[in-house]
Symmetry: C2
Subunit: 165 residues, 2 copies
C-alpha cells in the first residue's frame, strides 16, 4: 500500500513537471495580456503628461535601469541616467502635445510588447503654421521589481518632417 501511495504521488509530480502545453500557454498569455493592457494604458497617460511637461526625471522613472531609447536619426541612448539627460536635452517644442494609443499589446510572463500610434500637435507660432504629425511606436515593457518599466522604446513619424528631406 505504501508503494501504491508513493506511485500515485510520483505520477502526479511527473504530470506537474511536464512543460507547458501550447494550449495552456495560449490561455495563460490571453489572461496575462488583458491585465497588462490596463496597466500599460494607465502608464501611457502618465508618460504623455511627463512628455508634455518636459519632466525629464519623471520620464526616466518609466524606464528600466538598463532601458534603451532609440530616437530617429540619432544613436540609441542606453541607461536611465542617459535617458533622463537625453529627454532634458531634447524637450518638446513650447505648446506641443503628444499622446499615445496602444493598438496591440501582447504579454507572456515578464514581457509585454506594445505596438501603438502617437499623435503630435504643435500650435502656430510666428511664421510657423500649426503642425500635426501622426506616428507609431514599439515598446518592450519588462516586469521589474513589481512594476512595468520600458526596456526598449523606438518610434518614427508617419511622414517626413515639414521642410525636412
Amino acid at each position: 500500500m505504501r508503494r501504491l501511495m508513493l506511485g500515485a504521488v510520483l505520477i502526479t509530480a511527473m504530470a506537474c513537471a511536464t512543460t507547458e502545453t501550447p494550449e495552456a500557454r495560449t490561455t495563460r498569455m490571453a489572461s496575462e495580456t488583458a491585465e497588462a493592457k490596463t496597466a500599460i494604458d494607465a502608464i501611457n497617460v502618465r508618460y504623455a503628461t511627463f512628455m508634455n511637461g518636459n519632466l525629464a526625471d519623471s520620464l526616466g522613472s518609466l524606464f528600466a535601469e538598463d532601458g534603451v531609447v532609440m530616437p530617429p536619426n540619432m544613436p540609441a541612448v542606453s541607461g536611465r541616467a542617459a535617458i533622463q539627460a537625453w529627454f532634458a536635452a531634447n524637450p518638446m517644442p513650447p505648446g506641443s502635445q503628444v499622446s499615445f494609443t496602444a493598438t496591440d499589446v501582447q504579454r507572456s510572463g515578464d514581457i509585454v510588447v506594445e505596438r501603438g500610434t502617437s499623435s503630435f500637435t504643435m500650435p502656430a507660432s510666428g511664421n510657423t503654421p500649426a503642425m500635426s504629425m501622426p506616428g507609431k511606436y514599439l515598446v518592450h515593457w519588462h516586469w521589474t521589481g513589481g512594476q512595468w518599466l520600458q526596456k526598449s522604446t523606438i518610434w518614427s513619424d508617419d511622414a517626413p518632417a515639414p521642410g525636412g528631406g
Copy 2:
C-alpha cells in the same frame, strides 16, 4: 490508508496548480531565451540575404499573416500581402548591402523581443559617393505554427540621411 493516499495526491496536485513563482519564471525565461537567440540569429542571416537580393515574397514569408512593418517617415504596413508589396515597391539601391546584429534577445513563451543594430552600405555611383549608415531596430517575433515570425518590425537610422533635412 486510502484517505492518507488521497491526501498526498491532493497536496501534490495543489502544489502543481499554484501559479509560476518569480524565480521559476526567471529560470524559464533564461533557458527559453538562449534557445531563441540561436534561432533568431539564423533567421536574420536569411533576412539580410532576402533584403540584399530584393526578394519581396521571401521577405514576406518571414512575417506573420498579421505582421506589421513600421518604416520611418511612412505609415505602418499591415499584413503579409501588403508587406510583400511594400518591399517590392521599396527595393534596396543597386549594390547596397544590409546586415543585422541582435544585441539583446528576450524570450518568454511565444514572445521574443529582439533589439539590434543594422549596418547599411552603398557603393559609390557616378557623382554619388559611397555611403555607410548605422541603424537600430526592434522586432517582436511570435512563435506561430512552429516557427518564429515577425509580428512587428520598426527601425531607424542613427543619423539623418545625407542631404536630408
